[in-house]
């Protein structure tokens, strides 16, 4: 790879994606490897000072391919990015997003706004999803430094970007997670409330969706929980997450597996 110099009229600007495409660093060929691992549940819940995200860790093909995948990553200090869909494409997508945001920052000496990041991803998703059957759907959540609040952006398969003001879910376990969130969400949720609700939503998804991994007490593996606030991206320690799921599990064991009655 030589020194990538461009004349003013064909300069790709601060967009790493456009540079990489032009230089042939990232390829999006149409394959039809539909059996590559996918399926997921990730939820994002807004609370009064940020956003909580909880994601399962199972990669599923026709069998369980992996039990400790990280589907939520920090895209930069104030932004989290989660993926559902084809694992390989999802990982590439996260890498591309992380690099793009940093690239923009280095090229222009200013950080991209949260809305700018959300819009930047749209055509990448569109291009990927319309040209191959290897669908990737991301979920973007971040702390908006100019508006001082947590924000969530979800996407549809065609790259449409929509802001959600309450919560959002992606992946095959979405119907179950979404139901739980709908019933439990309140506009004035605090951090504890949001963590509890997010964990419960994921527990429900893991309980009902065969392609979502719930808490795994045998292997001591638990879903990922992160918060994004004015302090930035923070991943909860393993013990804290384990404790939260243990509590839910014990409650559920006492009720004989029945969720109904109250949200608990």
């Amino acid at each position: 790879m030589g020194l990538p110099l461009f004349s003013a009229h064909d300069d790709p600007g601060p967009s790493f994606y456009h540079y990489a495409r032009g230089a042939g660093l990232s390829t999006s060929s149409s394959g039809s490897d539909a059996a590559s691992p996918h399926a997921t549940t990730v939820v994002a819940v807004r609370y009064d000072h940020g956003v909580v995200m909880v994601g399962d860790r199972q990669a599923t093909g026709s069998y369980i391919a992996s039990r400790d995948v990280r589907k939520i990553e920090a895209a930069d200090r104030f932004t989290a990015l989660a993926i559902s869909g084809t694992a390989a494409r999802g990982m590439e997508f996260i890498r591309m997003a992380q690099l793009s945001f940093e690239h923009y920052e280095k090229m222009t000496d200013t950080a991209l706004s949260l809305e700018g990041k959300a819009n930047y991803l749209s055509p990448i998703i569109q291009r990927n999803n319309l040209s191959t059957p290897l669908i990737v759907l991301p979920l973007l959540a971040g702390w908006d430094q100019s508006h001082e609040r947590g924000r969530i952006f979800e996407y549809d398969g065609a790259g449409g970007c929509y802001e959600r003001f309450d919560f959002s879910t992606i992946g095959s376990g979405s119907p179950f997670a979404e139901s739980t969130l709908r019933l439990g969400y309140a506009a004035d949720l605090d951090l504890e409330g949001a963590l509890d609700l997010g964990a419960l939503a994921l527990y429900e998804a893991g309980d009902n969706d065969p392609s979502t991994g719930g808490p795994d007490f045998v292997r001591n593996l638990f879903p990922m929980m992160v918060t994004i606030s004015s302090a930035g991206f923070h991943e909860l320690a393993h013990e804290q997450v384990a404790e939260r799921f243990r509590v839910i599990n014990e409650r559920r064991t006492r009720s004989g597996g029945v969720a109904g009655g109250s949200l608990r």
């Binding site: 790879m1 020194l3 790493f16 660093l25 990232s26």
Partner: protein, 225 residues
């Protein structure tokens, strides 16, 4: 009918060098120096937004003097190259020496084959770790690359500033001392440079992947106190 006059290669090179040197001498200088826990880059720059110093990669920084549009394009190409290389291979495979070589080749080509030589002088700094050394690569307008052992000076007045800095520091010092020496070397005896006229960047391990940081005017005044 067009007349072609013979110009000897010696004369051509001399003319081109003189042209480039003149352009470079118009701008203010930059001092880059290794201190006890990192690298500091100090530029005299009256503009707060047209930067001469920039982050390139996790452990690599760029500095340029001369014509802004010319070195800024090189800076952008460097960032692209580094991010592209890291994306293709791994972050650990991005090496300042490779980048410095590309810059040297490009400047050399432009000097001999371009319409005009680039009126720039640039520096690629790399903060070392277990697998790579701490390095300052200075690349001149005609593509000469030099590996500067402890500090480098870019700009028209480089030799004088070099002498002043070398006289003030003979071993690795803490950041505040090195910064003070660098600013004094840039200013000379009969002049002081205000904090707002300085652009300062450092490469230092702070526990993060990215080691580059810009120092604010407040940081700089605090250190110079």
């Amino acid at each position: 009918m067009t007349n072609y006059f013979y110009v000897s290669p010696e004369q051509l090179i001399r003319d081109r060098a003189e042209f480039a040197q003149k352009g470079i001498a118009r701008g203010r200088s930059i001092v880059a120096a290794i201190y006890d826990s990192g690298i500091v880059l100090v530029a005299e720059n009256p503009s707060a937004s047209l930067n001469k110093i920039s982050e390139v990669y996790d452990r690599i920084a760029f500095a340029g003097v001369g014509k802004y549009n010319e070195f800024d394009r090189l800076r952008e190409a460097g960032i692209r190259w580094a991010d592209g290389t890291g994306f293709t291979y791994s972050r650990g495979d991005v090496d300042a020496r490779a980048l410095a070589n590309y810059y040297a080749q490009h400047l050399g080509d432009m000097f001999t084959e371009g319409q005009k030589p680039l009126e720039v002088e640039i520096l690629v700094a790399q903060l070392g770790n277990r697998i790579r050394p701490t390095k300052l690569y200075r690349i001149a307008y005609e593509g000469t690359i030099s590996d500067e052992p402890r500090f480098a000076v870019l700009g028209g007045d480089a030799e004088t500033i070099k002498g002043r800095f070398a006289a003030s520091e003979d071993s690795l010092e803490p950041l505040n001392v090195t910064l003070k020496n660098a600013v004094a070397a840039l200013a000379g005896l009969d002049r002081t440079i205000g904090v707002s006229e300085l652009e300062v960047g450092i490469l230092e391990d702070r526990g993060d992947r990215r080691t580059f940081a810009r120092l604010t005017d407040n940081d700089v005044s605090e250190l110079l106190r």
